[in-house]
């Protein structure tokens, strides 16, 4: 199968430009990049269908190979409409993000940063357990908030305060 250089170059250029925009922080640019990538994918499908041919409208006497390949066309048609739906959805997200935070940018996830910088000490795993020799302490005394490191001395003070 011979290769159409023009289609190939268009496809590569669309992909390259699309990826460049996709890596931006501005959500609008990300969306535009996504559209370009989708167009590039359509070009890939189109090029894969082979050389240009007659429009795939059947009429008797035309051999099948003279038509432009209908299968990639059906796939591309699906892809065009789906990209439209995705674009509309992304526009909704962009508007939302603008209304909520006056932001048109992809934000870093602060929670992820926090996880990465947390220390390995975990009160639930590593805090000292006071020795208990009975099960019948009142609940409020046995209450141990995870994270709060209360030794026996601090606990007695809280008890006194309660009284």
């Amino acid at each position: 199968m011979s290769v159409n250089i023009t289609l190939l170059v268009i496809m590569a250029a669309l992909f390259a430009a699309g990826i460049y925009l996709l890596l931006e922080r501005s959500l609008t640019r990300v969306l535009l990049g996504l559209i370009l990538v989708a167009n590039g994918a359509n070009m890939l499908l189109l090029a894969g269908g082979g050389p240009a041919g007659k429009a795939p409208l059947y009429s008797a006497g035309i051999p099948a190979e003279d038509y432009s390949d209908p299968l990639p066309q059906a796939l591309i048609l699906t892809s065009i409409v789906i990209s439209f739906a995705v674009t509309a959805f992304m526009l909704g997200i962009i508007y939302r993000s603008w209304v909520l935070g006056r932001q048109d940018e992809v934000q870093d996830d602060i929670e992820d940063r926090r996880v990465a910088s947390q220390s390995s000490f975990d009160a639930e795993d590593d805090a000292e357990i006071p020795v208990e020799t009975t099960e019948f302490t009142p609940v409020e005394e046995a209450e141990e908030a995870p994270g709060a490191q209360r030794g026996p001395s601090t606990r007695t003070t809280t008890r006194r305060e309660k009284r």
Binding site: V3, L8, I19, R25, G92, Y95, A116, E124
Partner: protein, 1001 residues
């Protein structure tokens, strides 16, 4: 047998309800279930102890079994079997289970939190344990095994407000699951090498099962058993599990959970104790555990911890005896198992009573309880004496048999002698800590006796009954002997069949027993000196610290790995993903010598070349554009260029669709982004980042080109689509091959797609309307003229005000404007009379044209997608010309109805043919003649296309309603409140409609 199992779980399921009705007395109801099972077990006991213990399933004399097929394809079945071993274990599981539940009714307070779920867990735990001992399938065994793990987690963590309970529960879960997973691998290895997962069959053909695979399997299975039974080095979870309520500990230690490991060893000992890997593991770990546990028990001040380490010690002991193999050891092992069950349950329940009545378990605080509760003390003394191995109690009977067996073992070689010596040492420690228990719990150590509430008989009933069992079966071991003998017969016969007896005569075992008692007594009497020795040697292995260390390292690695991979930056993730997306196919292309195309040509036509240049220029301009809409228009330019390429390629459908979509997308962009600032900021992230992005983008483009080239060069077969033209015309009844492909040949594909469209449309609507789809209809009726879109534009700028006034005057003089239904609602300065007239003229024509595209699409370019988009375009024009009320008046049905109706129509064309005897999505060609229209050829797949049409119209309508109308309304509300300060109807409407959006200035 199944009935008992089901009853246990079923009552556990409804237990919380019983507790709601009856409070803590519900424990009595719960305890009746295993009690009934226990009675049933005793009544039918003879059925399980018959001959033929070792026979495989289906043989005439084999013990009763039930097999329910589960997943035959995977050889999974619910196979149960009750033989002598299962029956003996069931005595403990059901009997002790029932007594513990009975005891709970007095142990817990009426208003204790969560006793309902607790009771359910405890009963289910008994059920799981019962299931475990009667399971006859390796996988089923594993399921019950893990079920006990999960339930023990819940039970140990009962006081969830205590850190110690939570941590102990998690620790037990992790340790036993670790062993359980190793065991699962072992079980699968065993099942695969045996060719069956039925345990009785595996044991029946045990002799044939040898080789490294089976050896590995047993090492892994023993790891599981060791971890479950809390042997060194896994022992530490058991003392930690003391955080559980004491009745749970009693059950856990005496009859369940830890006994599962012993059961597993006992189950496989008859066939596999001769294996080379078996004896060293069982004896070495057992011996170390026995001595270590006893040593630790002697150091404890908490009665419960003392017992816990005692259990660890006893479990080591039991593992050795049960795992040794041979008739004598088997007899002694089961005897010891029962003895341990009875006395350990008693002792724990006694500790529970002490803790309940005195408020502490610390032996340094307890004093004189022997005098204030003599009955309790005598129960405890009996059980402790049984634990210490004093005659005439069951513990003595069992220990005598054990020593008997190991004395014979010691005659065979030095290793046997070492084991025997260690065992005697361990037994001395056992005696010493038994004595320490009684002394610590009941003796008068100081002048001040601990205040102690009176013990009710119902509270004492369960431990007293268990202690009585230790006495009765010690004096009269015959019934137990009879119960155990069938299991013993599984081992090769010896000259003299061993029996459980109180008096064996003057044997070496008797002397060893006496030595044990003597040594233990010395250890106890010298307890203060011994304690000092222990504190000096306190640097013993602290397995808990090791566990903490391992878990800590795991935590650190997890945090480190998460920190490296989860950076929280989308750009970072994309970089990684794209780099992989470049490198993986590239290396595949290079490594596998991807074919290179031989023929090349520049372009199909000069026009294609020109279109290509336009597309590339548009894409490049989009990169450079720093105004938002400029970038959007440039991307639109590439889209139109691509439409041209489609047209040149011979794809009119694509060109048409692409053109329509580009236009609507452009409108959608403008509508959605109008409230965003016009400038697109370039982030100052530096040249380096931009270069990196460019390199990534270009490499990706090049790799895609390389993939495309080699894909095209790889084509060897005739394309499948060569048959499409005839398929489409002859079978699909349409000349437009692409359209018939969509609605008929690949209808499933299209059906999936329109579902996605419906979801995306709903997504857009929900993102903007927030609450629901907002399908409620707007009406233009009550809206005052000229109110919509007021104050949107800065008309006070020079000249604009005059122009607006001029425009308003024109409209004021026109007669009841008949051009658009709701055009009057717009603010005068926003109206355009020419646009309104043109809209009036075009709208219906476009709608008719869209229907034409839909119907004709089967044979000519067009179809549901193009038609739907065309109709959407018509609606867009209506909206732009007349505002949101105009759009609402133009659509008599809601977008949701359009989407749903479209999907339903498409689904009908999928299903109806099935009822007419065809296949899903089968189409039919109907030819008939109508007057005026003449001959008509109607293909049913057109109905599917109508569904597509409706969904697409719904999608466009949702986009217009959300990004257009709703944003209009919201921004009007804002300007009204910000500028004028007077609330307008629109603003009020918004407030009543939903949560006011937080606007960060």
């Amino acid at each position: 047998m199944l009935l008992v199992l089901i009853a246990l779980f079923a009552v556990a399921g409804i237990a919380p309800l019983i507790f709601r009705l009856m409070g803590r007395s519900a424990f009595y109801v719960l305890s009746a279930v295993p009690a009934a099972g226990f009675i049933w077990l005793l009544m039918t006991f003879g059925a399980y102890t018959g001959t033929g213990q070792g026979l495989g399933s289906g043989q005439p004399n084999a013990p009763p079994s039930v097999v329910v097929p589960w997943i035959p394809q995977l050889q999974l079945e619910l196979a149960f079997r009750m033989d002598a071993l299962s029956a003996v274990l069931s005595i403990l599981v059901l009997g002790v289970g029932s007594l513990v539940l009975f005891y709970c009714a007095r142990y817990f307070k009426q208003d204790d939190a969560d006793i309902g779920p607790f009771g359910a867990h405890l009963l289910a735990f008994a059920g799981a344990m019962f299931g475990l001992v009667i399971a006859d399938d390796l996988i089923l065994l594993f399921i019950f095994w893990e079920l006990t793990t999960v339930l023990s987690y819940l039970l140990i963590g009962y006081s969830r407000h205590r850190l110690s309970a939570r941590r102990a529960a998690l620790q037990a879960l992790i340790v036993t699951t670790l062993g359980g997973l190793a065991m699962l691998v072992g079980l699968i290895l065993l099942g695969q090498s045996a060719g069956t997962y039925r345990m009785s069959d595996i044991l029946a053909r045990a002799e044939a099962l040898t080789g490294p695979m089976v050896e590995t399997a047993f090492v892994l299975i023993l790891v599981g058993a060791l971890s479950k039974s809390a042997l060194v080095p896994f022992h530490f979870w058991l003392p930690s599990a003391m955080a559980a309520p004491t009745p749970v500990s009693a059950y856990l230690h005496a009859a369940a959970m830890v006994k599962a490991g012993i059961y597993l060893v006992a189950r496989f000992a008859p066939g596999f104790s001769e294996h080379a890997v078996w004896a060293p593991i069982v004896l070495a770990f057992g011996l170390v555990t026995m001595i270590f546990g006893g040593w630790q028990a002697l150091r404890q001040h908490d009665l419960k911890l003392l017992l816990a380490y005692g259990t660890v010690s006893q479990l080591g002991f039991l593992t050795m005896v049960v795992g040794l193999g041979g008739q004598e050891a088997a007899l002694a092992g089961l005897g010891l198992l029962l003895a341990h069950g009875f006395f350990k349950a008693t002792l724990f329940l006694v500790v529970g009573i002490i803790d309940h009545q005195a408020g502490t378990r610390d032996i340094r605080k307890l004093c004189g309880i022997g005098r204030s509760a003599p009955l309790l003390a005598s129960v405890a003394v009996l059980a402790a004496a049984s634990m210490a191995g004093l005659p005439p109690l069951l513990g003595f009977v069992a220990k005598e048999s054990v020593l008997e067996a190991f004395v014979h073992q010691a005659e065979d070689g030095p290793s046997g002698a070492v084991v025997l010596a260690g065992m005697v040492l361990g037994s001395m420690l056992t005696f010493a800590y038994s004595a320490r228990f009684i002394w610590g719990g009941f003796a008068r150590k100081s002048a001040m006796p601990t205040p102690f509430k009176r013990v009710e008989p119902s509270f004492l009933f369960a431990p007293a009954l268990l202690a009585a069992a230790s006495v009765v079966f010690g004096l009269l071991p015959v019934p137990l002997d009879a119960a155990v003998q069938p299991y013993v017969s599984l081992f090769p016969p010896v000259e003299e069949t061993p029996h459980l007896l109180l008096w064996h005569g003057v044997t070496p075992a008797l002397f060893l027993s006496l030595a044990t008692i003597g040594g233990g007594l010395v250890l106890f009497l010298l307890r203060e000196r011994f304690e000092r020795l222990q504190t000096r040697m306190a640097t013993n292995i602290d397995a808990e610290q090791n566990y903490k260390f391992v878990i800590g390292v795991l935590d650190d690695v997890a945090v480190w790995l998460t920190g490296r991979t989860q950076r929280g930056s989308l750009a970072f993730y994309l970089f990684v993903i794209l780099t992989m997306a470049i490198l993986t196919p590239l290396s595949a292309l290079i490594l596998f010598n991807a074919p290179v195309p031989q023929e090349w040509y520049l372009a199909d036509s000069p026009a294609q070349l020109i279109a290509g240049v336009v597309v590339i220029l548009g894409a490049l301009a989009a990169l450079r554009a720093n105004k938002r809409f400029m970038a959007v228009i440039m991307v639109g330019l590439t889209g139109y260029g691509i439409a041209l390429i489609f047209a040149l390629q011979g794809a009119p459908d694509l060109a048409l669709t692409q053109l329509l979509v580009e236009t609507i997308v452009l409108v959608a962009f403008v509508l959605a982004l109008r409230s965003l600032p016009a400038r697109l900021w370039q982030r100052e992230t530096g040249r380096k980042y931009r270069v990196l992005r460019a390199v990534l983008g270009i490499s990706f483009g090049l790799v895609m080109a390389a993939i495309a080239m080699s894909a095209m060069a790889s084509r060897v077969a005739e394309p499948i689509s060569r048959s499409f033209p005839s398929l489409a015309y002859d079978d699909g009844g349409g000349a437009n091959i692409v359209n018939v492909t969509l609605v008929d040949i690949r209808a499933w594909d299209t059906f999936g797609e329109i579902s996605v469209l419906a979801i995306a449309a709903t997504g857009v609507a929900s993102l903007i309307f927030i609450r629901g789809r907002g399908d409620g209809r707007l009406r233009a009726d009550g809206v005052k003229s000229g109110t919509v879109g007021r104050n949107r534009e800065p008309i006070d700028a020079y000249g604009r005000e005059a122009a607006a006034l001029e425009l308003a005057k024109k409209f004021a003089s026109s007669a009841n404007d008949a051009w658009l239904v709701a055009g009057r609602t717009l603010a005068p300065e926003r109206r355009s009379i020419i646009f309104e007239v043109v809209t009036r003229l075009l709208f219906h024509s476009i709608i008719v044209f869209s229907i034409y595209l839909l119907i004709a699409g089967h044979n000519l370019p067009g179809g549901g997608f193009a038609g739907g988009l065309m109709a959407g375009l018509a609606l867009t024009i209506r909206y732009l010309a007349g505002g949101r009320f105009e759009l609402a008046e133009a659509t008599p049905v809601s977008a949701g109805l359009l989407l749903g109706g479209g999907l339903a129509t498409a689904a009908l064309t999928a299903i109806v043919p099935v009822f007419l005897g065809g296949q899903v999505f089968q189409s039919a060609i109907l030819e008939f003649t109508w007057p005026v229209f003449g001959d008509i050829k109607f293909v049913t797949s057109t109905i599917f296309d109508i569904g597509v049409y409706l969904v697409v119209v719904g999608l466009v309508l949702d986009v217009l309603r959300s990004l257009g109308s709703e944003i209009d309304e919201r921004s009007e509300g804002q300007t009204a409140t910000i500028d004028a300060g007077t609330p307008e109807p629109a603003a009020e409407q918004e407030e009543s409609r939903g949560p006011k959006e937080e606007v960060v200035p």
